[in-house]
Symmetry: C2
Subunit: 395 residues, 2 copies
């Protein structure tokens, strides 16, 4: 099968490398070679010494649209222009494999339909949690279940920063700077640290899990830029670890969904997912709980997911895209939850109708409440000097 | 699609329950209902209050062989008789989904071929690691890689026992008795505690990972019945946790494979997999490392994997079984490894060519060595009074 790669940055060159290096594994699986015949790019970054000898490099997309490629891999990023390209290829019955969560989180509903109308498969394993085959698992491994919860550490940058803050007591600023120096964080880290990247991924995963379309903009989001090391220490002293989670729950009516920093018991499977790793924790009515751990980013790691999609499409062709008609009804009020609450210095007394335990009261007052409604929390915030609030997940 | 279930014990009744309870999810996926028309069993245990009204219960396998079922689910267990049934159904072009690792570990090579000759699919997701979709992940999620290592906590009984011994300092005997009372361990626990169950599973998983047939009897196995709580304490003091691992490695020549209790750093993803949970940790040349965590057993949990296979076959039909021609060349000498070694009381001095650190020397001498060959270990055991040896895995 001839394929084209749109975009030749970090992931694109990883895809070339994996296809060349693991061609034997590919042919055993697909019974035919996979050949990269075209690359859509200005320049080639060849960080893996891959072989580009027989590859046509072009800046004219029509060269590819009018070629005999049966599949394009889109690893360019960007939204509007890339959406247009997806439409073009899918409309021509050319399969598309994409790592572009930014665009897919907004346009997947439409693209899946165009694909189905033209018998073109849309693969996007690489768009969520990098090298972890979570989309495949939700679609073909856990699909006998009613899925009722998805919790994901879906952004390696913020997980790295929180890990450094937790384990080494680094400030947020120091950890961010270190992440930038190591290449985990971009110069403008907003997308990562404010949770926008994780929000796109939890939207995509929840759509598969619950068969509900989620409007990304409707999902409440809160990042980690306001997290203080002191709160992490208070939490640790009570056996809790902070993770930035994309989280959603669905029990047949409204969908609870958000991205926010959350406290988990140290023995929760997600609590030990450290550094730049990603993980997705899923609950279903038959299997109970599972977790999938692995790399969230990286050239070869992401390419692993891309090439897996390419191989499945090469072997099975068009098998149908996930078409979702129902739009989610997002529950903005939220369910009752346990909260970690830190009060301002002067606030030494608390009036609260639910039980709570005090986990610090020397310098400032910090409590962890039993389950309380969002309403009750709002009342507390209005009547007390509250400085920090985090949801505590117990299981 | 009409299906039959062979065997109506814990898993069989879970399969009925999941099919009935999640029929909506099934039909969304397969576009047709899945109907259990026959059950091959003497009696029905209906632990989930499933509905058996329209199910024909028979003790005559010909009733099913000559019916219009397109797929049979085999959850009977046993080897010879069940192997015969598999042959019969696959030869007739009837798909088979099985949870029977005991039989498959021995006969999968032959059954996969019979299936391919008759366009019958053999699904066995439920045979390894219960509700974790690890076979699907290896086959359709990580298949773009050269897989070079599989480490699995593949037996919930032994993981429960080791967890109790580690966390609560229970003796092996006490933990085993508790596991038996809780229903995790059988009256005769040999298969679990001596590693025989895990050996079958690591054989099946390694076959998929490396495309090599493994003769189960050739795989070195050592269980946990000789593990002492004191060794777990020495190990914990040095930041190491014991797990019974099915483990294999392959770098293109010989396969290293064994089942044995192994010490892992506390921050290794596998070290925090506790109680009766299972997990499979996989290394590949593109994705690096991933881990899949979840339930290793249970009625609905195992049924989740069974019904997932049924749904995939209902949707895609025969897609080809994994045919493996190459027989593994098992490296019995093993690679160089780091060892935890506890000596007998009188042995206070060690003569060893590799570096080691002493982690206890008050009551008895306990050391952890740097990597040393199996040969060197044998020499040490011959010339010193060694009482316990465990491999230490560092990453």
């Amino acid at each position: 099968m001839k394929i084209a790669i749109l975009g030749m940055g970090t992931v694109g060159s990883g895809v070339i490398k994996v296809i060349q290096e693991n061609q034997m594994e590919i042919q055993q699986f697909t019974n035919e070679p996979i050949e990269v015949s075209h690359v859509f790019a200005k320049t080639i970054t060849n960080q893996h010494d891959a072989d580009f000898q027989n590859v046509i490099v072009t800046e004219n997309i029509d060269d590819i649209l009018n070629s005999d490629v049966e599949l394009v891999v889109e690893v360019m990023g960007g939204i509007d222009f890339t959406f247009g390209l997806h439409q073009k290829f899918l409309s021509k019955g050319i399969h598309v494999v994409s790592a572009n969560k930014d665009m897919l989180a907004v346009h997947i509903k439409e693209l899946a339909k165009i694909g189905d109308e033209n018998k073109a498969q849309l693969g996007y394993e690489a768009s969520c949690a990098g090298g972890i085959p979570i989309i495949n698992a939700l679609t073909y491994g856990l699909q006998a279940n009613k899925i009722n919860r998805v919790l994901g550490i879906l952004n390696g940058t913020t997980n790295y920063i929180l890990t450094k803050m937790t384990q080494d007591a680094w400030s947020y600023d120091k950890a961010l700077k270190d992440a930038q120096e190591k290449g985990y964080a971009e110069k403008d880290p907003t997308n990562d640290v404010e949770g926008l990247d994780a929000r796109r991924k939890i939207a995509l995963l929840s759509r598969i899990a619950y068969k509900q379309n989620l409007n990304v903009e409707d999902i409440p989001v809160r990042g980690i830029s306001q997290v203080s090391v002191q709160d992490l220490e208070y939490a640790q002293a009570d056996g809790l670890t902070m993770k930035l989670l994309g989280k959603s729950e669905y029990h047949g009516e409204k969908v609870q969904i958000s991205v926010e920093p959350v406290l988990l018991p140290n023995n929760h499977q997600l609590a030990t997912v450290n550094d730049a790793a990603n993980a997705v924790y899923v609950n279903g009515n038959a299997f109970g709980e599972t977790m999938f751990y692995g790399p969230g980013a990286g050239s070869l790691e992401t390419a692993s997911a891309v090439v897996s999609d390419v191989m499945n499409i090469a072997k099975f062709g068009f098998v149908g895209n996930l078409i979702v008609e129902e739009d989610a009804n997002i529950d903005l009020a939220g369910e009752a939850a346990s909260y970690f609450i830190r009060f301002a210095k002067g606030q030494t007394e608390v009036k609260l109708d639910v039980n709570y335990k005090v986990i610090a009261d020397e310098d400032v007052l910090v409590i962890i409440t039993e389950d309380m409604s969002a309403n009750a929390l709002e009342q507390l915030e209005n009547s007390h000097q509250v400085e920090a609030v985090y949801v505590v997940i117990k299981d």
